[in-house]
Symmetry: C2
Subunit: 505 residues, 2 copies
């Protein structure tokens, strides 16, 4: 039963990945930042709740009348929209207790599953007596200012407000509101996020240090902008993961791309491939298949977490095919092992809300030049070409992306030089098996800007719920993070006390 659900959700995950690539056609395929919730679904399918209605009653849902445009005082910006947030005060020390607030920053999906999925908050709330807050990112879930995501991103007048600076300004305004509502003036706030949400968490601490005391930025690839990280960082890690799991599997995959192209170039080759891979509709182009596989391997590597280790599952299929099997039969066996036995495999899925939203975000400001060259990974060559990317986005939305904006607004270049004497209280956590760790902060910047990573960890693993099956290194990583946060809070209380005693002014 659990396995069936697992496969179902992995399937959903794949849809999102695949779709993005199809939109940007062959040369500019970019693996999107998978919403964290997908991972939760994958690993915790039995606890997942698809709507906040199913949440235990200690999670209370609220809506805040949020400012549409924080940086413009034109007529439209005075519009407001309903931003959803969820509060859990079960563990809280109470008003005027100075007990901390853990604030989860929603990312590129609804927050429906986050309260149960992002277990870090509930797992450690009792020992901190923390108030828990989960805030939904504008345009996703129930926090869309303009009807559906589809409508919002289609219209040039409505999608403009959909960006990261506006989103973290939402969080700033909302957190000040919550502090007032809960009489929590002296409660330090720790912001927590994963993946894109992890970027938001680190950026939030940098831009709003007066609101958040510190940030736990899990698997945040903040260095994947403006060519700070080599293009092929992502796929290099995917390839390494597969190589480490099984050399023969790695080599089979590496050889498969040319084989697919070769067959596709033959008369009736595409029909042959469609039958061989049980595609739900006939392949129009070999890229559809290659992209499906690319996404599958990427997802498996990104979420290559215990206890199931998806890369091992895929390679189990590939390596386990009968001796002498054709390369493509092995590849198909990998699909079946990972996705389950299905009557057909959909390589042309409809885009999800997340897919639609993230597509706009990457075409406006979140321009991450992820690509790869010839033979530098186990994949076929697919360099990121900025000019082509810009052309595609322009075709789609009529406007050009701003590929330098993220580094202009948030920085990222020479990060050690800049931040070692500025900023504090950020944990950059990563698992080195996560392809996005290639653009994460993996070394301490200063004593209070710390990199906490695990050799075998995967994407956002540390902020998911504790489990009795957790390996020791994962438990240790979480405990390290908790200790660092305790240190920030202890220092803050000492500062506060000194201030109140008049030692400081």
């Amino acid at each position: 039963m659990k396995m069936n659900k697992l496969f179902l959700f992995q399937w959903l995950l794949l849809l999102i990945f695949t779709k993005t690539s199809l939109i940007f056609s062959k040369p500019h395929k970019i693996p999107r930042l998978t919403p964290l919730i997908q991972n939760i679904i994958q690993d915790h399918s039995n606890t997942f709740s698809s709507s906040t209605n199913d949440l235990p009653k200690e999670f209370e849902t609220y809506y805040y009348k949020q400012t549409l445009d924080h940086f413009n005082y034109g007529p439209k910006s005075y519009s407001t929209f309903k931003q959803r947030y969820i509060i859990n005060s079960k563990y809280w020390g109470g008003s005027n207790s100075s007990s901390p607030i853990f604030a989860y920053l929603g990312a590129e999906s609804s927050i429906d599953g986050d309260p149960l999925g992002v277990g870090f908050l509930t797992d450690f709330a009792p020992q901190f007596k923390a108030l828990l807050v989960y805030m939904e990112h504008r345009y996703y879930g129930e926090s869309s200012p303009f009807k559906t995501m589809e409508e919002a991103v289609k219209d040039e007048d409505t999608r403009g407000y959909f960006n990261s600076a506006q989103a973290i300004a939402d969080y700033a305004e909302l957190l000040l509101h919550i502090k007032e509502k809960y009489s929590a003036k002296n409660s330090p706030i720790i912001v927590i996020g994963g993946s894109y949400g992890g970027m938001l968490a680190s950026w939030f601490r940098m831009k709003y240090p007066h609101i958040a005391l510190g940030a736990l930025a899990s698997s945040a690839p903040i260095l994947y902008f403006d060519n700070i990280t080599p293009q092929n960082g992502y796929y290099s890690v995917v390839s390494r993961d597969f190589k480490e799991a099984s050399k023969s599997c790695y080599h089979t995959i590496r050889k498969s791309w040319a084989m697919i192209d070769k067959i596709a170039s033959r008369k009736s080759g595409l029909s042959y491939l469609s039958r061989k891979f049980k595609t739900c509709s006939k392949l129009n182009d070999p890229f559809e298949l290659k992209d499906y596989l690319d996404s599958m391997y990427s997802v498996a590597a990104q979420y290559n977490s215990p206890p199931s280790y998806p890369v091992t599952i895929v390679c189990g299929g590939i390596d386990g095919a009968p001796k002498g099997s054709h390369i493509l039969d092995r590849i198909f066996a990998g699909i079946v092992a990972y996705r389950g036995n299905s009557s057909c495999y959909n390589m042309n899925p409809k885009p999800s809300e997340t897919g639609l939203g993230w597509r706009w975000q990457t075409c406006s400001e979140m321009v991450m030049p992820i690509g790869r060259g010839e033979y530098d990974t186990m994949f076929f060559s697919a360099p990121f070409n900025l000019n082509n990317f810009i052309t595609d986005c322009k075709k789609k939305y009529g406007v050009s992306p701003r590929p330098h904006w993220i580094t202009t607004y948030y920085g990222g270049k020479d990060i050690k030089l800049i931040l070692q004497r500025f900023a504090s209280n950020i944990i950059f956590s990563n698992g080195l098996r996560d392809p996005y760790s290639s653009a994460g902060v993996l070394q301490d910047i200063s004593h209070s800007l710390q990199a906490v990573h695990t050799r075998n960890g995967s994407h956002c693993l540390d902020i998911l719920s504790k489990d009795s099956s957790d390996p020791e290194w994962l438990t240790m990583q979480r405990n390290t993070e908790v200790k660092i946060i305790e240190g920030w809070i202890a220092k803050y209380y000492a500062d506060l006390k000194a201030l109140q005693k008049g030692k400081m002014h």
Copy 2:
């Protein structure tokens, strides 16, 4: 000759002050942050140039194609406008020399006079081998995205982009452009600004530490928001300045308000006052006169600088009137002493570009609750009432100000607690005779967030040009600032060297 010019420019200055008050009618008079250039004009009238055409040829004027809206990707935000900036490379160490860049952040006026007026940059450029950059604030001078200021602020569709977050984002984008243009990758940037520009400088270092290494924020009242500073801080300092200059002068002024009201309430009282004060047009209300005087005293205190000391000039007139003179004759003598002998005094001036722009800025986000109660200053009572203020702004612009936005975006509350472990490299300089110093940072926050103030200094005095008549305390203040900046740069070079040697990663 010099005196005539002096009076002429003081007159211009007054126009701006007075106008703002008239707009908001009696109860909500707010002394605006006078543009720094007005001060320069006052003290350096012989070196002032009214247009950049008159600048020495080492100052070169350029225009940057600037993004209209950095935080929205709607159709209009892709518009651009021409932002003016001026470069002086006479003293610069050259491309790839790592010599620093001094960047002056324009405030609420044209930058025409800044290159010669803000002498701190040219005075200290040789010893730093600094490249000098002067950037104009959007909507002022030649950097208006929409024709004239008058048209821009009248139209709800065009004035929305006119705010501080957009302005500092302009500076971020432009400075990165300049670094590239001048091959100055490793050149540290020190941002410098005064008054509102000083706020922008400190905020810029906080928001864009990856672009500016440090900030000299001169006379920046960053704590005059959201009631962090008591309402009457400004007028308390004005009153103290007058009391220190002359107790009798102070008492004369203090008593004058009731006298004006008493006479105005009589039949033909306003005609009498109009004649007595030689107003260019008949007074409609005693407030016009009181507001004119209020502004004159405030300006005199704000710019109470050597060698002329305007407060002493005003009080010289008041105290120097023939023995036994009527209170109002003494007050008029104060006007004549300060403003010069004139055929009439204009108490209903037309608003300047600065007045029009700043009015919008205060009615949108720069809400500074400056007021005073009954008998707590030498002035008549004029409490700041936020609700009335909002009503007035709504009437004028159709939209409500956002009085909490500045503290939400930039912070300010509990500044010591927040910033002692975050941020670095900001000098908050103040002169304690400047009424705005009441909302300045007057104590060190940390070893790298330093308050440098002088007991006798006035508004933005430290960043004006050196003069042989400068008192020793002013020279010392500037030298202290220079030493601090040298320290930042030395540390930066050491960090850079260590990084390049591979000691850091």
